[in-house]
């Protein structure tokens, strides 16, 4: 580990409980979670911005604030309405000056699964029901439709943000006090969980990165025994026989190697992927629905 990466805070005296005013400010700021969304670290900058009032309240030491801001720029993706649950827990850990490594692991382990739960509850359940109720009112020309839609959707959203923030902050305070007895073992266990979840993210979020090369390979008799159907060899299918999601795994390990062993900056890695992606677009290597720039003897499939 590099010497400039702090693993513990300099000032380890737990800060006093964060004021209600600041917690409320964080709830409002959490709306901007995706205001700086990007493919590299997704919601990280918006997350840090939402956390800032709390972080500034608990870290009076300037170096500690910088260290805290730095690790709060980690990759993060969770549900935008449920994010305050993660914020409350992380804030309680920051306040108790928990080991930085533990905060990192807990944050990603809590945030990643919440994304799926949030989508299921909000986008797959509440929004379709609300839309079903109100869309026909709108089509019939009633202004009540959109107004009702906004009140229901926004009301649930803000109630979630507010409730989850306070619930998880109080929960976090209790949990953090319990675990300080075995801090070392807890840090290691949290790392196990964190790394385990990152492994899951590689195949879960990375599955979109695959080859789209499909080579025509003559014709054969179709299932009905009469018509001839075209046969294609899909290269990705062969890769899957070696290891599904092989490319996402290799690319992640490559980034890890380049960043931690070769001293590459993230920006350099992004540049590399831009080249890999666009060269792939020219020759029709990556999966997607597009036409390659140069004519190639294979089809591009999604």
């Amino acid at each position: 580990m590099e010497s400039n990466v702090m693993t513990t805070y300099k000032d380890t005296t737990p800060a006093p409980r964060v004021e209600k005013k600041i917690l409320n400010k964080m709830v409002w700021r959490s709306m901007q979670l995706q205001a700086c969304f990007n493919y590299e670290r997704m919601q990280s900058a918006g997350w840090l911005w939402a956390m800032l009032p709390g972080l500034q309240a608990v870290h009076k030491n300037k170096d500690d604030l910088a260290a805290s801001m730095t690790h709060n720029m980690d990759f993060l993706n969770t549900h935008p309405f449920a994010v305050t649950f993660v914020m409350g827990i992380v804030l309680s850990m920051e306040q108790m000056k928990t080991d930085i490594q533990t905060i990192r692991s807990v944050r990603i382990s809590v945030a990643a699964p919440l994304g799926g739960i949030g989508d299921a509850l909000f986008w797959y359940t509440l929004i379709p029901i609300t839309a079903g109720l109100t869309a026909n009112m709108a089509i019939e020309g009633s202004i009540i439709g959109p107004i009702l839609y906004f009140i229901i959707a926004f009301g649930v959203e803000m109630a979630l943000r507010y409730g989850l923030m306070y619930w998880s902050y109080n929960l976090g305070m209790k949990a953090v006090q319990m675990m300080t007895a075995n801090a070392k073992a807890f840090t290691h266990a949290a790392s196990v969980l964190g790394v385990f979840v990152v492994g899951a993210l590689i195949s879960n979020y990375g599955a979109g990165t695959k080859l789209g090369i499909s080579i025509p390979n003559g014709q054969t008799v179709g299932e009905d025994g009469e018509t001839m159907v075209d046969v294609f060899i899909n290269i990705q299918d062969y890769l899957n026989m070696i290891l599904p999601c092989l490319i996402p795994l290799l690319f992640t390990l490559m980034c890890y190697f380049l960043i931690s062993k070769k001293g590459w900056t993230p920006v350099k890695c992004i540049g590399l992927f831009l080249v890999i992606g666009i060269v792939g677009g020219i020759f029709g290597i990556w999966a997607g629905s597009y036409t390659p720039l140069v004519p190639v003897p294979w089809n591009v499939v999604a």
Binding site: N38, F75, Y149, G199, C245, I278, S289
Partner: protein
């Protein structure tokens, strides 16, 4: 189509706001059922706004911005459908059909923006290392300004150019398809940089097996159809079990090293 400067300016302003709202702010106002009537007020035809909005909203159910995948963009879709329905007096279904190419460009802009914004991360890293909160605010503002601005430009093109713009946009989309295909492939890969940074900090030599185990569990659960959507929470449950086990083993080890009480195993 006659061009009314006040309409045009107001249209650009609300498009700017909707573009930002689709990812932050309320994340509700940009939905067609609300956005279209608002545009209807600006264009002077609320009734059409309600009909287009309600129809588009029903179209979108099951087509949500979930899990990082982008459907053709709803903001430009509803702005342009409204312009076509009110100004070009297309019927609702024709307007919704004609807006799709603009929605595709909205999707292109989102891909471009999310790729380019990866460059903002180094600015944020620098601000964080200096403990400077203003730097983070600045990055957020730059992102929102660019995203909103680009969307507003496409809305203006749709208003001024009208349905006649569909043809040239279609051919542009065709010509740029390899670039957009390559860029969205690159966009999909950029998250591996984020994972790489996470691993740099978290990884120690005794944890490699856990990384592979997480990878495998997510693959297995993700490929079982009824479970696929809940993959990450299910994997996290398994992970919690392993973490508890690890906690127990480490405390036992520590106790043994300190010559403490034997566990009697």
């Amino acid at each position: 189509m006659d061009i009314n400067i006040i309409e045009l300016v107001l249209l650009a302003v609300v498009t700017f706001i909707f573009a930002i709202d689709q990812f932050s702010l309320t994340e509700i106002i940009y939905r067609p059922i609300i956005a279209c009537p608002i545009m209807g007020i600006i264009l002077g035809d609320v009734q059409t706004g309600l009909v287009v909005g309600g129809t588009y909203e029903l179209m979108m159910i099951g087509n949500m911005p979930v899990g990082g995948a982008q459907p053709p963009n709803a903001v430009l879709g509803s702005v342009v459908a409204m312009v076509f329905a009110v100004k070009a007096q297309l019927d609702v279904n024709a307007a919704l059909g004609a807006c799709m190419i603009f929605a595709t460009f909205g999707q292109y802009i989102v891909t471009l923006m999310f790729s380019a914004a990866s460059g903002l991360m180094s600015m944020c890293d620098k601000a964080a290392a200096e403990g400077n909160p203003k730097g983070i605010t600045k990055a957020l503002n730059i992102h929102m300004l660019c995203l909103g601005g680009l969307f507003a430009v496409i809305a203006i093109i749709a208003y001024v150019g009208g349905t006649a713009m569909s043809e040239p946009l279609n051919s542009l989309a065709e010509k740029a398809s390899w670039f957009m295909g390559g860029l969205s492939a690159a966009g999909g890969m950029m998250r591996f940089v984020g994972f790489g940074i996470l691993l740099k900090i978290m990884m120690s030599n005794d944890l490699w097996g856990w990384l592979l185990a997480g990878f495998v569990f997510a693959l297995i659960i993700g490929n079982i159809d009824p479970l696929a959507k809940a993959t990450l929470i299910l994997v996290a449950f398994v992970g919690i079990c392993f973490a508890l086990l690890d906690f127990k083993l480490t405390t036992m080890e520590n106790n043994a090293q300190q010559g403490g009480v034997s566990d009697g195993i």
